[in-house]
């Protein structure tokens, strides 16, 4: 069976995703982009264009470029919305059969150059239903997905706003069928977002989806019951979006420039185009930085010469420009959640369990903050807000095609599993969030000469020091043949099966002796316990890091002392008493501070000893040079 394509058929942009290896994946279109403009056109030469190609010729061909057709699909010509949109849309909207809507596109009578060129091809001069226009977009997505995946796509899940009525849903389904897709499900956009975050598994929860897109603002209140997601209320503003933010910024910039330079750049199309791009970039940058610079050299010129545009913009300024829009969206949200039915869901704001952010504009920190303040909880925003609906559509597709079977839902390790090593350090073996079953092998050695046993201390937790983590098991591996430190090879294997049972085995490679332990409860912590442990780890991150550095420095000190003592012993009488006693003094000094001293103390004693040891080698080489010049390779000793 082929894959089912998940499609977010948006007002401004569309996106698509499929399930792959049990995970949703956004598919790029033929142009290499993750979203496709929902625009269709018939070019002046009679070619039909879809997506970004249609958009690129829209300015010079506005009458034959259809965008935002989602605002018309499944509606009656007499609908208030259609009548309102008709006034500002540059393409022609007509009354079709049975009071429906039709749009005119590619009609040569509206394009004198086409007539003069005699390109009145068949199929050009006609009106299209919004379904047909949407079908062109869907067909492009379908063929781009097929090219990307190398397989035929015959079925799809398509999303629609929660407020779409039966007629709009049916029309969207028809669009899919016209495009050659069997529409397996028409899915609500907010439900798709909830699916993307896996919230459909939460029972009896109230979810609010705050969707601030490029051109529309939708708010939905969902209730998750037994495997059913019910839409309790919808609201929003179909003519409020991120584009309004851009317009506000441009207006502000034009105004400021007029004040500063006395030049009105709004009349210059090229300057305006550059300003528009700069405004969009500034908006994006201010989501991550607190200020940005708008730098447009040679924006225009007058009698005095070229003029430049250089202005700093702060996040606070941007927020003050669009404050009214954000407040309006929050007011609409409050109303949709709290107003009694049928206007709203009739919930208390406190009753809302989860909040999801959808739409590119929700990247703005001020919006995230406003939503968080309204509900008193952190909204979900981990998945790219431009893609979350398509991701959810793919998840639904996966459920339909049977990818997301419970039996195949593999668990992950909630916390890191580690082993204690020299100096009380917790050395991770299996990091948190590793999918099980899994296994990890690492070879360890001894810390002291002639050590015949090692202790295996199995730990769970995120802290870098063993003592701060939870002990899962402790056992000894005995019978290691006596040898210098670092020589024995003890292989430690951590293995977790699909049921979360951890087996730890330690084996001495030389003697073949092994010891193991089985821990049943390695993943059985409660959600609260896991969160508590993770929180602790985050809180102690910096102090833990310094403790770990101290432990590692001490380990290094130990190792250096060992090396120094060995070097002195090996050198024997090749070094003078002065060097020997100097090194010994430094060894003693380091020994004194290594266990009790602070990090800086140990570090400096360690550095001093390291410097001193080098003198051993130096002395030996010097001696060798003095005595052994004739033996050097350049001058072979005559027999």
């Amino acid at each position: 069976m082929g894959k089912i394509l998940g499609i977010d058929l948006g007002t401004t942009n569309s996106a698509m995703a499929v399930m792959e290896g049990g995970e949703p994946r956004i598919l790029e279109n033929a142009e290499g982009n993750r979203t496709t403009p929902s625009v269709v056109a018939v070019s002046k030469t009679g070619e039909r264009l879809t997506g970004v190609l249609a958009k690129r010729q829209s300015i010079t061909n506005p009458k034959n470029t259809v965008f935002s057709v989602k605002r018309l699909i499944g509606r009656k010509f007499s609908d208030q919305e259609v009548q309102r949109d008709k006034n500002w849309m540059p393409y022609e909207i007509l009354e079709g059969e049975h009071g429906g809507v039709q749009v005119r596109m590619g009609d040569p009578s509206t394009d004198p150059s086409a007539v003069s060129l005699g390109t009145n091809r068949s199929g050009q001069a006609r009106s299209h239903t919004p379904e047909e226009i949407s079908a062109f977009i869907l067909a492009k997505l379908k063929s781009d997905a097929e090219a990307k995946l190398g397989e035929k796509i015959e079925e799809a899940v398509i999303t629609v706003p929660a407020y779409f009525d039966d007629s709009q849903r049916q029309a969207t389904k028809n669009a899919g069928e016209i495009a050659g897709l069997k529409v397996r499900r028409i899915l609500n956009e907010p439900t798709a977002a909830a699916l993307a975050y896996g919230l459909n598994k939460h029972k009896n929860e109230q979810i609010v989806v705050y969707d601030f897109g490029g051109g529309t603002f939708d708010i939905s209140v969902l209730e998750v019951g037994d495997d059913v997601v019910e839409v309790k209320a919808t609201g929003g503003d179909t003519h409020l979006g991120g584009d309004d933010f851009d317009k506000k910024i441009i207006e502000f910039l034009v105004d400021e420039y007029r004040k500063q330079e006395g030049v009105d750049i709004s009349k210059d199309p090229l300057a305006l185009q550059r300003l528009k791009e700069a405004a969009e970039r500034a908006k994006h940058e201010l989501s991550v930085a607190v200020d940005t610079e708008i730098n447009l050299p040679y924006i225009t010129s007058d009698s005095t010469g070229p003029k430049h545009f250089l202005m700093k913009m702060t996040r606070a300024k941007l927020e003050s420009l669009v404050k009214e829009y954000i407040e309006h969206s929050i007011e609409l949200t409050r109303e949709t959640v709290t107003a009694p039915a049928p206007k709203g869901a009739g919930f208390d704001l406190k009753e809302i369990d989860e909040v999801i952010l959808v739409g590119g504009q929700t990247r703005m920190p001020a919006i995230q903050e406003a939503v968080k303040n309204l509900f008193g909880k952190e909204p979900h925003k981990g998945i790219n807000p431009d893609e979350v609906v398509a991701v959810g559509a793919a998840v639904q597709a996966g459920i339909l095609q049977g990818d997301v079977k419970d039996i195949l839902l593999l668990d992950v390790t909630p916390l890191t599993l580690a082993i204690e090593t020299l100096g009380g350090v917790a050395t991770p073996m299996i990091p948190k969030n590793t999918t099980v079953p899994t296994s990890k092998t690492q070879v360890f050695s001894t810390a002291a000469d002639n050590q015949t046993s090692v202790e295996v201390h199995v730990l769970q937790g995120e802290r870098p020091m063993a003592a701060d983590n939870r002990t899962l098991a402790r056992f000894m591996l005995e019978g290691i043949p006596p040898s210098p430190r670092g020589v024995p090879q003890v292989e430690v294997v951590f293995d977790i099966d699909a049921n979360g049972i951890l087996s730890v085995t330690a084996k001495d490679k030389a003697s073949g002796k092994s010891q193991s332990v089985r821990i049943e409860a390695s993943t059985s912590l409660s959600k609260e316990e896991i969160e508590k442990l993770k929180k602790e780890a985050a809180e102690h991150a910096s102090e833990d890091a310094s403790r770990r550095e101290l432990a590692e420095t001490r380990n290094q000190a130990e190792q250096t002392i060992y090396l120094a003592e060995k070097a002195v012993k090996d050198a024997g009488d090749k070094i003078g008493e002065d060097v020997r006693s100097a090194v010994s003094a430094k060894i003693e000094a380091l020994k004194k501070v290594k266990d009790e001293g602070g990090l800086e103390e140990v570090k400096s004693a360690l550095a001093e000893l390291s410097a001193e040891i080098q003198k051993i080698g130096q002395t030996m080489y010097n001696k060798k040079d003095d005595a052994g010049n004739p033996e050097s390779a350049d001058h072979p000793k005559p027999d």
Binding site: E20, G21, E31, G32, S43, K44, T45, L49, L53, A54, R56, Q57, S58, I59, T60, N61, S113, S116, L117, P269, L270, Q273, P297, Y298, S301, G305, P306, I407, L408
Partner: protein, 195 residues
């Protein structure tokens, strides 16, 4: 051997029906699990292959964002050079030899031109190429974006003028060339030509 086999079969046949159904169930489960395991294994191998391709693709286009920012700088160099050559044309009032650029101005212009070339060259080494476009070319929305329409001597529907250079990073158009589209010659010109 044959006897053994026969005995085995008989034994299975003799088994009580519930045991047979149990065996059947186990066989079915075994087949299902084996198939699931094989599928998972194959999925993983395929995933690995695709991931390698994807990584290669990511590595190829990892500089895209940075290159895009530098394209903006190239644009501004173009504007600076255009402004410089414009200022050379303008007569400097009151000076002897008005309109003739000083050697200093020529040197400055050449210097800026060389810096621009240096930067474009550095970007070219990272896969950037300029999309060629000129007046009279057929408008191609795959490579160009129309920003306005005006009367010109070029045939209607073709490119009248390139306003901003377009660029490709390897095979991907990272910015289409911004062009003015020709409406054809103005009626006045046409009439004059016809006469």
């Amino acid at each position: 051997m044959d006897e053994d086999k026969k005995e085995g079969t008989d034994a299975a046949n003799d088994a009580p029906p519930e045991e047979i159904s149990e065996i059947e169930k186990c066989r079915k489960e075994r087949d299902e699990y084996l198939a699931g395991w094989q599928r998972a294994r194959a999925d993983f191998l395929n995933y690995k292959k695709e991931e390698m391709q994807r990584l290669a693709e990511i590595a190829k286009y990892q500089t895209e964002d940075m290159v895009k920012e530098f394209i903006g700088v190239l644009d501004n160099f173009d504007l600076a050079l255009a402004a410089l050559s414009e200022s050379k044309k303008a007569p400097t009032s009151g000076e002897a030899g008005a309109g003739v650029p000083t050697p200093k101005a020529v040197g400055t212009e050449k210097g800026i031109y060389m810096i621009r070339a240096q930067m474009e060259d550095a970007l070219r080494k990272r896969g950037l190429t300029r999309i060629p476009v000129g007046p009279g070319d057929k408008f191609d929305p795959a490579l160009q974006e129309a920003i306005s329409e005006e009367e010109s001597d070029e045939p209607p529907g073709t490119v009248a003028e390139e306003m901003k250079a377009g660029y490709k990073l390897f095979d991907k158009v990272i910015r289409p060339a911004r062009v003015k589209i020709s409406k054809g010659p103005s009626e006045n010109t046409q009439n004059t030509n016809n006469k």
